[in-house]
C-alpha cells in the first residue's frame, strides 16, 4: 500500500453528496480534501426549512452533516472556488481561485445544481410583482411563522402554486423533469394550509409525479385532510389586479375550459439546472455531459459514480436532479468506486 499522501482524493463541492463521499473515503483510510465555493457546507440544504415527505426539520439534517464532518475530522475548505481540474500524467491537478494547485490521485465532482432563475419565465411576473416568489423563498418565510405569508398583518386568503417552473419546458431549454418539485409543492401546500387553515390553497400542475415512497400518501393527505385543490393545467400568465393581488390564468384541462383566479401569493416551484461549474469542469477534464447539461457517467446501470474519464467520479445533483437521500447514496457509491480505482492502481 502506498503512503497515505499518495492516495489523496479531492472532492469538489461540500453538499450532502460530496460530504458523504469524503466521509466514506475517510472511513476506508483514504484522505479526502473537500473544496466548497460557499462559506458554509451542506449546499442547498441550508435553504430549506422542512424536508419531504415527512417534513423533517432541515436544520437537524444539516447539523448531522456538520457533526459528521467534525467527528471524522474531515478537511473542508469553504469559501474556496475550484477554477480548474486538469489531468497531469497520473494525477489530477486542482487549482483554486487563489492560484493554489494541488495534485490528487482521484477527483470526485459533486458540484450540485443551481435553481432555475424564475425571472426567465417573465409571464409569471417573478421579480416584477412582490407576491410572486419561488419555492425556496417560501421555505425562508415559513421558517418564521410570525412573518410567514401575512399581508398587512392579515393571513392570506388564496395561495397558488405553479408546478414545473423551468422544468419540462422547451421554451427555457430544460426538457427534463426536476423530480423533487412535485412533492415539494405538496409539502409546501400543506405547510401553508397548516399555518392558515382558512386559506384556499391550489396547485396548478401538468402531471403529479409522486414516485417516492410516502409521496403519494402525502399527496392524498394534502387532498383529503387539508382540502388542497389540485388543478390540472399549466398557468399561462400572472398579472396584477387593482387591489394588489395576482390574477392567474390557466386552463382547467380536465374541464376543458380556461379559468382565472385571484390569489394573494403565487409560489413558483423552480426546478434544478446544472451549476455553471459543471460545464467548466466538464470542459477542463473532458467529462461528458448529457443533453440536459448534467454530468453523464460511464455506465449508469452498473458503475454508479464513474465518469468516462479515468480517476474522475461524479455524485449528487450534478448528475441530474436528486433528492437528499439520492445524493447521499450517490456520494457513498462514488466513494466505493474511488476505492476500487485506487486499489487497482496499487
Amino acid at each position: 500500500m502506498s503512503a497515505e499522501k499518495d492516495r489523496k482524493v479531492a472532492v469538489v463541492g461540500a453538499g450532502v453528496a460530496g460530504i458523504a463521499a469524503a466521509i466514506t473515503l475517510k472511513q476506508s483510510g483514504v484522505e479526502a480534501d473537500v473544496f466548497e465555493k460557499e462559506e458554509t457546507v451542506g449546499g442547498h440544504l441550508k435553504n430549506w426549512h422542512a424536508l419531504f415527505p415527512g417534513r423533517e426539520n432541515a436544520s437537524v439534517v444539516l447539523r448531522g452533516v456538520e457533526e459528521s464532518i467534525l467527528s471524522h475530522n474531515l478537511k473542508v475548505q469553504t469559501g474556496t472556488m475550484v477554477t480548474s481540474v486538469t489531468r497531469n500524467e497520473d494525477n489530477y491537478r486542482l487549482t483554486t481561485e487563489t492560484g493554489l494547485s494541488t495534485d490528487y490521485k482521484a477527483v470526485v465532482l459533486s458540484t450540485g445544481f443551481s435553481l432555475f432563475n424564475a425571472a426567465r419565465k417573465e409571464e409569471y411576473g417573478y421579480g416584477i410583482y412582490p407576491y410572486v416568489i419561488t419555492s425556496p423563498e417560501l421555505e425562508k418565510l415559513l421558517e418564521d411563522p410570525g412573518k410567514g405569508l401575512l399581508i398587512g398583518g392579515e393571513p392570506p386568503k388564496k395561495v397558488a402554486f405553479v408546478h414545473c417552473v423551468g422544468s419540462r419546458d422547451a421554451k427555457v431549454g430544460n426538457h427534463y423533469c426536476s423530480k423533487v418539485c412535485c412533492i415539494t409543492g405538496v409539502k409546501q401546500a400543506i405547510s401553508v394550509k397548516e399555518l392558515y387553515p382558512d386559506c384556499e390553497v391550489m396547485n396548478f400542475y401538468m402531471d403529479l409525479r409522486m414516485f417516492g415512497l410516502g409521496y403519494e400518501e402525502l399527496y392524498q393527505e394534502a387532498q383529503e385532510k387539508f382540502g388542497i385543490n389540485f388543478i390540472r393545467g399549466r398557468v399561462s400568465e400572472a398579472a396584477p389586479t387593482f387591489d394588489g393581488a395576482i390574477q392567474v390564468k390557466a386552463e382547467d384541462t380536465l374541464l376543458g375550459r380556461p379559468l382565472k383566479v385571484k390569489v394573494d401569493w403565487l409560489i413558483l416551484l423552480v426546478g434544478m439546472e446544472p451549476d455553471k461549474m459543471t460545464a467548466q469542469l466538464a470542459d477542463s477534464l473532458g467529462v461528458e455531459t448529457g443533453s440536459s447539461g448534467f454530468f453523464e457517467g460511464e455506465n449508469k446501470f452498473l458503475k454508479p459514480g464513474c465518469s468516462k474519464v479515468e480517476g474522475v467520479f461524479i455524485a449528487g445533483a450534478c448528475t441530474g436532479p436528486s433528492s437528499i437521500p439520492d445524493a447521499v447514496n450517490q456520494g457513498r457509491a462514488a466513494a466505493v468506486s474511488v476505492l476500487e480505482y485506487l486499489s487497482g492502481k496499487e
Binding site: M202, Q220, Q223, E224, G227, N229, R232, K249, D252, L254, L255, R257, P258, L259, K260, V261, K262
Partner: protein
C-alpha cells in the same frame, strides 16, 4: 345586451372563462362534509369506464369536477341515469364511496333539507 346589439349590430362576446373567485361550491362542501374521501379523487375515470349507464349520459368524474367548479346547473343530466349500483365504488383506486356521493347529491337536487 340586446339593446347594445340593436344599436351597434353586434355585442361583446361573453367569455368562456371560469372565474374561480365567483364559483359557488356550497354543494361540494356539503357533500365533502359527509364523504371527505371525495377530495382525494384523481379524476382517473375508472368510475366512468365501468358505468353501466354511461351511454345514457352518466359520468361520475365529470359530475364531480363540475360540482367542484360550482357548475351545479349542469349536474342533473350527469347523474339522473344512475342506478346506484355501486360498480364505480368497486373500481375506485382512492376507495371513494362514490355511491354515497351520488346519493347525497340526489338528495340535494330533489329533496333538499
Amino acid at each position: 345586451m340586446n339593446k347594445v346589439k340593436d344599436k351597434w349590430g353586434f355585442r361583446p362576446e361573453t367569455s368562456n372563462t371560469l372565474d374561480l373567485d365567483k364559483t359557488d361550491i356550497d354543494w361540494y362542501r356539503r357533500i365533502v362534509e359527509k364523504i371527505p374521501g371525495l377530495q382525494s379523487c384523481i379524476f382517473c375515470g375508472s368510475c366512468v369506464s365501468t358505468c353501466t349507464v354511461n351511454r345514457d349520459g352518466m359520468s361520475f368524474r365529470e359530475m364531480h369536477l363540475l360540482l367542484r367548479r360550482g357548475e351545479v346547473q349542469k349536474l342533473e343530466k350527469l347523474v339522473a341515469p344512475c342506478l346506484l349500483c355501486g360498480k364505480c365504488a368497486l373500481v375506485c383506486p382512492r376507495n371513494i364511496d362514490t355511491r354515497s356521493v351520488i346519493y347525497n347529491l340526489k338528495i340535494l337536487m330533489y329533496a333538499p333539507v
